[in-house]
């Protein structure tokens, strides 16, 4: 084979293909599949119970369709398990949902507005220094950086996304501090009652409350929920959940530490650099814990006790450096939020999701992170389930 032949053959083999693939990747302009145009065959009023991600996206879509609606929220703020601390550090902090567990173009899909000129910066979350705390030893596992990558907001938060792009379109339609305790769907209209005796009425209702609220029977349905639905609801796991953010004067921790053996053990207790990839100068280490063991943080008598527990753990892992460099902290104990009561749904049997999602008499519908067929336990999954529920309500 001569050199000329060689070059000719290689060209024929298409050796440039891998380069091309990467080139295409690096300048990707991914087209996303937007929500389909849905005919709105509905002229009545809809009440959405809960102003979390599912309720807000549902409201946003109804607003776009010019359908009369109201969102009734139990707490004093919107967002549900999406919440932010704006002033804790030199970058906004997600106290709740933080990662974007899918292609970030999902944000455009949730906004569902092709006329929007706005853009939003996302970072790939691909920690480089990774450690595992196991059997009293901190072991480097940087090799794991080759196998894990997700996305996060760069200079805003999930809450910030809703705050800037979703809620302003209908903020006056959210009623706060109004926990719904009764939903009566026996008549033509669905009537709702809150814990102060206030009454509301609508043609259809979308219930987006977290699973523990349904499990605790905080909301009384009339007629009662079918026994099959009650069983399905009670089958859904909803472990404790907590996030804590601690600022230190010096950085002494890796990008990511699996605090409970992690990786192979499937642990969900992480200490991570909250400012990773962001324009952050402050050293903020975050705790994220969602597991059957999370009660060791969430079930203590006070946030102070929780903080002391976390600091003693950090001092053990990092040889006392946590106490040495501590500046301030913030704790978000989701298990103690009265209208949340934990983290997010875990299924043993995904058939329960179908049962939970079945509407009641075509009047009461359900949405939330627990009801996304492929992306449950995520913010975008909650949003998409809100959209899907709206489609069912207005096109049926």
């Amino acid at each position: 084979m001569t050199r000329k032949d060689f070059i000719k053959n290689i060209a024929t083999l298409g050796i440039a293909t891998p380069f091309m693939a990467s080139l295409l990747t690096s300048c990707t302009k991914e087209n996303i599949e937007f929500f389909e145009e849905v005919p709105a065959n509905f002229n009545g009023k809809i009440i959405i119970v809960g102003a979390g991600a599912a309720g807000l996206i549902a409201g946003h879509i109804l607003q776009q369709k010019n359908i009369d609606f109201q969102i009734i929220e139990a707490s004093s703020i919107y967002g549900g398990r999406v919440k932010k601390a704006a002033d804790f550090a030199d970058f906004p902090i997600d106290l709740g949902g933080e990662w974007i567990h899918t292609n970030p173009s999902i944000l455009a899909k949730l906004l569902n507005d092709s006329t929007s000129q706005a853009d939003i910066d996302i970072i790939p979350y691909n920690p480089k220094t990774i450690s595992v705390w196991k059997d009293g030893k901190l072991r480097k596992r940087n090799v794991a950086s080759h196998f894990y990558s997700e996305y996060k907001f760069k200079s805003t938060t999930w809450y910030g996304f809703f705050e800037k792009h979703i809620v302003p379109n209908f903020s006056e339609k959210i009623i706060y501090n109004s926990p719904i305790t009764e939903i009566d769907y026996t008549g033509d209209k669905v009537t709702l009652k809150n814990n102060q005796g206030g009454n509301f009425s609508a043609d259809k209702v979308l219930v987006t409350v977290p699973v523990p609220i349904l499990q605790s029977n905080y909301i009384q349905f009339n007629p009662p929920l079918p026994s099959e639905k009650i069983a399905a609801v009670n089958n859904i796991g909803f472990p404790d959940g907590i996030k804590a953010f601690i600022e230190f004067s010096e950085r002494f921790y890796p990008d990511l530490t699996f605090a409970d053996g992690g990786l192979i053990n499937g642990g969900d207790t992480l200490y991570y650099d909250a400012g990773f990839g962001k324009d952050a100068k402050s050293n903020v280490l975050a705790l994220f814990s969602v597991s059957e063991e999370t009660g060791k943080y969430t079930n203590l008598e006070s946030d102070t006790a929780t903080f002391e527990k976390i600091m003693s753990e950090l001092d053990e892992i990092f040889d006392g450096q946590a106490t040495k460099y501590y500046k301030k902290h913030i704790i978000q104990n989701w298990s103690k939020e009265p209208f949340i009561r934990g983290s997010y749904s875990h299924y043993d049997n995904y058939g329960d999701m179908d049962i939970l999602g079945e509407p009641l008499d075509n009047k009461v519908f359900f949405a939330g992170e627990a009801l996304h067929p492929t992306d449950s336990s995520t913010v975008h999954g909650a949003g998409e389930s809100g959209y899907d529920a709206v489609v069912s309500m207005i096109s049926g």
Binding site: S22, T25, S116, D119, I122, I123, N126, T129, N142, Y151
Partner: protein
């Protein structure tokens, strides 16, 4: 400057060797190249014999010291792309009457990683544009390769390399590199 110096250090021996070579033209190999098997890419390499190690009593087993300058590329889509300049030095063994061969080598590599730092998402249409940062690593590897002749002009080979990345602001991180390719013997 540091990077350029390193590249020169890796590539200069190859030029020197080319001047010395009295044998046939050095082969060129083209390989599918991947980090951990799922970050795909391509590698192009050549190979120079440094020294015949076969003794009179071991003619049945030919051994030679070689050096192989290489340029490789691999990518983790939507995350990072990587350019590798590497030189392997090692021993290649081949039985006289068999077409198969194996090689054990040490690699000295310079890895330049282009990491996506920001993805700007257009909220109107979901289109994305990316910006990147880059960082460099020193990447020594221990490699084992084996293969055999397909014809007088073409060999196939497979290679695995295990190494550690150093630098780039991180502590050592293990990496595993896979290679499956063809080596073309060029005529004069």
């Amino acid at each position: 400057m540091k990077n350029i110096l390193l590249i020169c250090l890796l590539l200069l021996p190859s030029c020197w060797l080319k001047g010395q070579s009295t044998m046939e033209k050095p082969p060129i190999s083209i390989a599918y190249f991947s980090q951990f098997g799922f970050q795909p890419g391509v590698k192009i390499a050549t190979e120079f014999n440094l020294k015949e190690l076969t003794t009179e009593t071991q003619k049945a087993k030919r051994r030679n010291l070689f050096i192989s300058p290489q340029i490789g590329f691999f990518s983790w889509p939507n995350n990072h792309s990587n350019l590798l300049l590497n030189a392997d030095i090692g021993i290649k063994r081949q039985k006289e009457n068999k077409s198969s061969f194996s090689a054990l080598s040490l690699g000295l590599g310079y890895l330049h990683e282009f990491q996506i730092s920001t993805v700007a998402v257009q909220l109107g249409d979901g289109k994305q544009s990316t910006s990147r940062t880059s960082r460099s690593y020193f990447l020594p590897t221990l490699n084992y390769a084996f293969g055999s002749s397909l014809s007088s002009a073409v060999d196939w080979y497979s290679k695995i390399g295990v190494g550690q990345r150093f630098g780039g602001g991180i502590t050592a991180a293990t990496t595993v590199l896979f290679e499956l390719g063809l080596q073309f013997q060029l005529k004069k």
